[in-house]
């Protein structure tokens, strides 16, 4: 009888220990911070459509000081093609308009002296596809205008 009681006591102790161990394990799992998970979406792209030519509607204004009226003739050149699309004002004093219509660009350079006085203009034109660079060179108290044309 005593042995049976002792045996039952041992069983109860073992059961109690198991329950406590299981409880501790569950509490431990509950308190442990879970590792952060990440998920990524499918890829997306940023597309950029860069419209070149500039200006409003891809055109630029070209002006001349030798035309009619205070503002001369106004020419509109489509920058992407270099084609003259329109000009206003009379063209009788503008013989170079023909050159413009042949898809040539007109460059009008106003030259000013060191004191701001106007020294005149350099009036010239070049064809489509021509790259022209201008620079002024000050040498020996003189200003030189250098124009380089590539075609």
């Amino acid at each position: 009888m005593v042995n049976k009681l002792h045996h039952n006591s041992l069983i109860r102790q073992a059961a109690t220990a198991s329950i406590l161990a299981l409880g501790s394990l569950l509490l431990g799992c509950w308190s442990l911070p879970s590792a952060a998970a990440v998920k990524d979406s499918p890829a997306l792209s940023a597309r950029i459509n860069l419209k070149v030519g500039g200006g409003s509607g891809g055109t630029a204004l070209c002006r001349t000081g030798s035309g009619i009226g205070p503002f001369g003739a106004t020419l509109t050149v489509v920058c992407s093609t270099g084609i003259l699309t329109d000009y206003s004002g009379g063209a009788s004093n503008l013989p170079w308009v023909t050159a413009i219509e042949d898809n040539s660009f007109r460059y009008l350079l106003s030259v000013f002296g060191p004191s701001g006085e106007s020294l005149g203009v350099v009036d010239s034109y070049t064809g489509v596809g021509t790259v022209t660079t201008w620079r002024t060179i000050h040498l020996n108290h003189q200003d030189y205008l250098e124009m380089t044309v590539h075609w």
Binding site: S41, A43, L44, A46, I48, L50, K51, V52, G53, G54
Partner: protein
């Protein structure tokens, strides 16, 4: 006599059942139900974003993107744009092909950054500053695109 025999038989059968019942022990025990809930977030596929830019002038139009994030109810989470190894909510970058600097911004979701079990929408909005002069070596109909750019691919990453 016959009735007496039937009655006796019935009584004996009843007594037999009673004794059988008395001899069968009834055992019962309790059991627990365990529910393991795995909290998670899912994302839908976002569309591409587009910037139409007039060289030397500025942005003429943009197309934003959107996606849905769905997380387990009450689960806190955060989202960010990811490109390469970098993650941020706002991402400035200069495109490697056309040279236009732009920014992608991941908008705040409706309802905050805690899961509700339902879709929560996010927007990805592109923007660019004005008067940029980009790079365009071979335009087609006056337009250069950033096809082949090495830095224009993004992911949206959710962390929970």
């Amino acid at each position: 006599m016959k009735s007496f025999i039937i009655l006796t038989t019935t009584l004996l059968a009843g007594l037999g059942s009673l004794s059988a019942l008395a001899a069968s022990p009834v055992n019962s025990s309790t059991f627990n139900v365990t529910v393991n809930l795995t909290a998670e977030c899912t994302l839908s596929a976002p569309g591409n974003v587009t910037i139409n830019y007039d060289d030397g002038v500025g942005v003429t139009s943009t197309t934003a993107s959107s996606l849905n994030v769905k997380c387990t109810n009450q689960l806190p989470y955060s989202v960010a744009l990811l490109t390469g190894a970098a993650a941020a909510v706002t991402f400035p970058v200069t495109d490697s092909v056309v040279g236009i600097a732009y920014t992608l911004t991941l908008g705040a979701p409706v309802g905050g950054s805690t899961g509700t079990g339902a879709n929560q929408s996010y927007t990805i909005t592109p923007s660019a500053t004005a008067a940029q002069t980009g790079t365009c070596a071979a335009p087609t109909a006056g337009v250069c695109t950033n096809t082949g750019a090495t830095n224009n691919t993004y992911l949206v990453q959710v962390t929970y």
